[in-house]
Amino acid sequence: MKRYVLRRLLLLVPVVWGVSTLVFLLIHLIPGDPVEVMLGETAVAADKDALRKALHLDRPLPAQYLLFLRGLATLDLGRSLFTPRPVWEAIRAALPATAELAAAALVIALAIAIPLGTLAAVKRNTLLDRGAMFLALLGVSLPNFVLAPLLVLVFAIALALLPVSGREGLASLVLPAFTLGVGMAGILSRMVRSSLLEVLGQDFITVALAKGLPRWRVVQRHALRNALIPILTLVGLQLGGLLSGAIITETIYAWPGLGRLAFQAIQSRDFPMVQGCVLVIALTYVLVNLATDLLYALADPRVRYR
């Protein structure tokens, strides 16, 4: 296990390099003159030259790439085109809001999914099972841009219980976190159920039951532990989806996080900011993936890594 962890940490280096290079290429592959795209065709030549110089676009591509890598090593992601603010500072200011939103959404998702999925699996083929799975399906089937306006209509406008948008206090977190968490809760509950059913159908469960162990103990100690493994992978994968979902959710609720920053940057063609946001979102996901894989290996000794 120690060797595996060490190897995975070493492999982080090429992954991080690959991700940053892809992001660099993404921005520089844009056909045409990026300066013209950013400033518009009618911009004054002097302004264009100044911007070109500021972004090092007057240098050859390899030189730009080296400058990009050097900046990366020192956390210098350049400056926004529209505010004099360094990109890294804007991202750092937005990070806590997104972390808060993602964490709240994850907690909501797990708090719904594990009991709901377990209940459905244990009470398989009963009315409870069907009711629980219908709820889960409903969660999966409601995209956040459908759910959000409905929630706003009911809880913010009709009942006036919660703020429509913004980030002020815990109350403003409820609707965005719920919007973001419901889909994940639906997916996870379904996975908990199907994974648990898979395990419950295996011989060692029959043996455990034949030994006379109480059913809840078999479910909790024998079945859930094994059922957890594919769920771990899914939670990891879902976190990426959560970050993507944050772009839509944050935009709808005016939540001042990374997703909204990224979308605004894309709309205003603020390429240094886009580059920085994509990079940070991607690197966050790489680390989450690593943690998922390590947990996976820890949880399932059958998965032998050599």
Binding site: L11, P14, V15, G18, V19, L22, L26, L29, I30, P31, N125, M133, L137, L138, V140, S141, L142, P143, F145, V146, P149, L150, V152, L153, I157, R190, S194, G201, P230, T233, L237, G240, G241, L243, S244, G245, I247, I248, T251, I252, A262, F263, I266, R269, V274, C277, V278, I281, A282, L283, Y285, V286, N289, D300, R302, V303, R304, R306
Partner: protein, 271 residues
């Protein structure tokens, strides 16, 4: 017997929804009471009524006709994206899972890098580079879509390949290709097919998300996502604009999930 009957019900419901979507898409021009782009400005934001069972949008266009035509975009994107991504995922995942060593490492690192791009970010970047269009939406969803299948296939193969029957096949002299095709893939196909039905739902939602953000199908072509985006500004005065395209997406995704569930139970020989 009752359980068997019910799982067939799930598949039947799912297939029925898919069939309805297909009919709506193919026969949209015949079924629509109005042209999807025909405006009637003086009837803007009118609620459901005679002649317009789903009401009218800001420009007085018939919402029912637009929902029906929106099905064309949804099913096209869903079918193409799933076809491409499942095929690529199966091939890549099997190779990585059976080869092990350097090949596995290289593929997994590539998957890590590709999965490190949260889908929508890449798709948005694509829209910025290539300009938003239906083809670019399909391209962007497919470019990343196979990665999840590949990871799933590889993970399943890692477990299955350690099972006795695979060792037995190898001991009997079966070649690698034969082991993959005859012993590994059939035993891991069930979760892939189930994932594919969710993948189709995902592709449909993905298209709608992009169009919602203004980066997918461009007006005046009706797409459920575009309709929802326009509806957001009239939440109070015209909630029917959110309701009908929202319901359409929900029913289609619900149906695909029913299908996936039912298929899962039918394809699993252990039950």
């Amino acid at each position: 017997m009752r359980a068997r009957g019910r799982r067939h019900t799930g598949v039947a419901v799912g297939l029925a929804v898919l069939a309805a979507l297909l009919v709506a898409a193919v026969a949209a021009p015949l079924l629509s009471p109005h042209a999807p782009t025909a405006q009637a400005l003086r009837e803007g934001l009118h609620g459901p009524g005679p002649g317009h069972p789903f009401g009218q949008d800001r420009l007085g266009r018939d919402v029912l006709s637009r929902v029906l035509h929106g099905a064309r975009v949804s099913i096209l994107v869903g079918a193409v994206v799933v076809g491409v991504t499942v095929t690529v995922g199966l091939v890549v995942g099997s190779v990585a899972g059976t080869a092990g060593g350097l090949v596995d490492d290289a593929v997994m690192r590539l998957i890590d890098i590709l999965q490190a791009f949260p889908g929508i970010v890449l798709i948005i970047a694509f829209a910025a580079v290539l300009g938003p269009s239906l083809l670019n939406v399909i391209l962007a969803l497919s470019l990343l879509g196979w990665v999840g299948y590949a990871r799933l296939v590889r993970g399943q193969i890692l477990v299955v390949r350690e099972m006795d029957f695979v060792h037995a096949a190898a001991a009997l002299g079966a070649g690698r290709l034969r082991i993959i095709a005859r012993h590994l893939v059939p035993n891991i196909l069930a979760p892939v097919i189930v994932e594919a039905s969710f993948g189709m739902a995902g592709a449909i939602v993905g298209e709608a998300s992009l169009s919602f953000l203004g980066l997918g199908v461009q007006p005046p072509t009706p797409s459920w996502g575009t309709m929802l985006n326009e509806a957001r500004n009239y939440l109070l005065v015209a909630p029917h604009l959110v309701l009908f395209p929202g319901l359409a997406i929900m029913i289609v995704v619900l149906g695909l999930n029913f299908l996936g569930d039912g298929l899962r139970d039918m394809l699993d020989p252990r039950r």
